[in-house]
């Protein structure tokens, strides 16, 4: 201990500071302060907003449950559900091959590169923008919504699925290849068992996401409850709007419970 003074001076520091990361965090904090300062948020505007909000909520209550409007709402909800389920099914089925083709540890670059470009294109635009394009292409109605959300599903599931495949243990794949198995058997035994639970996770998350988005694409005429909701907004029909919102919340909660069941099946 007493002779430790000599060698101790030659030791490197135990932890090295990461200056680039520190500078980046400081820059981020500085920009956040600057951006907030030019937003012109004043107390008066906040108080006025509170009053408007209270008026809005007052006009929402009690929720409108008139029979004619209820049939309108149920028809809209049913169409939304149809859009969500069909687009999820199509999206999940298409994501399997697309994700496999995008995995850089299984496929050569000339396959993964164009596939990854295709996935990036699917992800590039928000679902509502894609829905507008499909409304122009196939006309108003649920078909446009189904196609728009299918594209969104591929963009999400195929990308995460490809990333999951790139993280698998290649030892298991190697063992199956060593048996002389054809490529499809290598996929079925060496790859799929390693990524199936994660794929199911991504897929159920996307079903949930599609369910929420299916209530929105109607705003641009792509079918579902969104159209009815937007009309209620336009007509200041706020009490009917509340009924629709409550119904959507109920639908999302039921789907959440179902998803948990499905995930448990595939542990």
């Amino acid at each position: 201990m007493s002779s430790a003074a000599g060698p101790a001076q030659n030791r490197p520091p135990p932890f090295l500071p990461n200056w680039p990361a520190r500078i980046a965090w400081i820059a981020l904090a500085a920009y956040a302060f600057y951006a907030a300062s030019i937003l012109d948020v004043t107390w008066e505007r906040f108080v006025l907003g509170l009053e408007n909000g209270a008026k809005f909520i007052g006009r929402m209550l009690p929720p409108d449950t008139e029979a004619e409007k209820m049939t309108l709402m149920i028809r809209g909800l049913y169409e939304s559900l149809e859009i969500a389920i069909l687009s999820s099914t199509l999206g999940i089925l298409l994501s399997l091959p697309v994700g496999l083709l995008a995995a850089r540890n299984l496929m050569p670059p000339w396959v993964t590169w164009p596939t990854r470009l295709f996935i990036a294109l699917c992800r590039a635009f928000h679902q509502v923008i894609v829905a507008i394009i499909f409304v122009k292409a196939v006309g108003f109605g649920a078909l446009a919504g189904i196609l728009a959300l299918t594209v969104a599903s591929i963009g999400f599931i195929a990308k995460l699925f490809a990333d999951a495949i790139e993280e698998i243990s290649l030892k298991q794949v190697e063992a199956i290849r060593a048996t002389g198995a054809p490529f499809m058997n290598v996929i079925a035994y060496g790859v799929m068992p390693q990524v199936l639970t994660r794929f199911v996770g991504f897929a159920t998350y996307q079903v949930d996401s599609n369910l929420r988005n299916s209530t929105m694409v109607g705003i641009v005429g792509a079918g579902g409850i969104g159209g009815t909701m937007f009309a209620a907004f336009q007509k200041f029909d706020y009490d009917f709007l509340l009924t629709i919102l409550l119904a959507i919340i109920a639908m999302i909660m039921v789907s959440e419970a179902l998803q948990n069941r499905i995930k448990r099946l595939y542990q």
Partner: protein
Amino acid sequence: MSETTRPADSSAAAPAPALEIRGLRKEYRRGVPVLRDISITFANRGITAVIGPSGTGKSTLIRCINRLVEPTAGKILFHGLDLARLHGKALREARRRIGMVFQEYNLVERLTVMENVLSGRLGYVAPLKAWLRRYPQRDIEAAFELLDAVGLTEYANQRADALSGGQRQRVGIARAVMQQPELLLADEPTSSLDPKTSVEIMELMVALAESRHIPVILNIHNVPLARRFATHIIGMSDGSIVYDGSPEGLSDDHLKQIYGGENWLE
């Protein structure tokens, strides 16, 4: 090379060899050979142990045989077939005839023991049938017989990730033998196991291979284990063969030449 020993018995074993390697070279980086033009003949019976220090190319040698690693140059003659030149379907058909046991077992963790053993038949079963688990009845019976032989019958429906190391390697051996191979490769099959389990695994592998007349080529860096189980020993050092002979003929001088230094002996 002058010290390479060729015992009389290997040249006297006239029947066709299991494997003949001619001038095998492997470079992972250009100009840096891991295997330096190796030539060996493996007899069509018995256990051949390849010994040598870590990083000397033992694993590369074994993996070149079933082409998990691509050889840079040379021939690997397997019953008249040059494995080094095969592609696509012909390569897959050759791989079916060669079983492999891995250091880290390489089982499919999320599949059951039975599914892992049956995966030895994946070269023969069509994808849709394999996916639906529609294996021929005789494959299923053979799998149960093998599970009996390795003592894991009651684990058939357990997932592979629930097993211990020794149990996993038993499944790995069963999977390889399930191929009904004409040659069994084993890449450091006991290096991840404790000493007692290592001996048990070696006993099991040797017994299964001998009862089915399958010649075995295995990498091992445990010299006593190699001496105890092998019928033939190949010593490698720095990508070349420095000993090729019987376990009895392997002297301390040979070991010094293979592993370098001598302080570790004793």
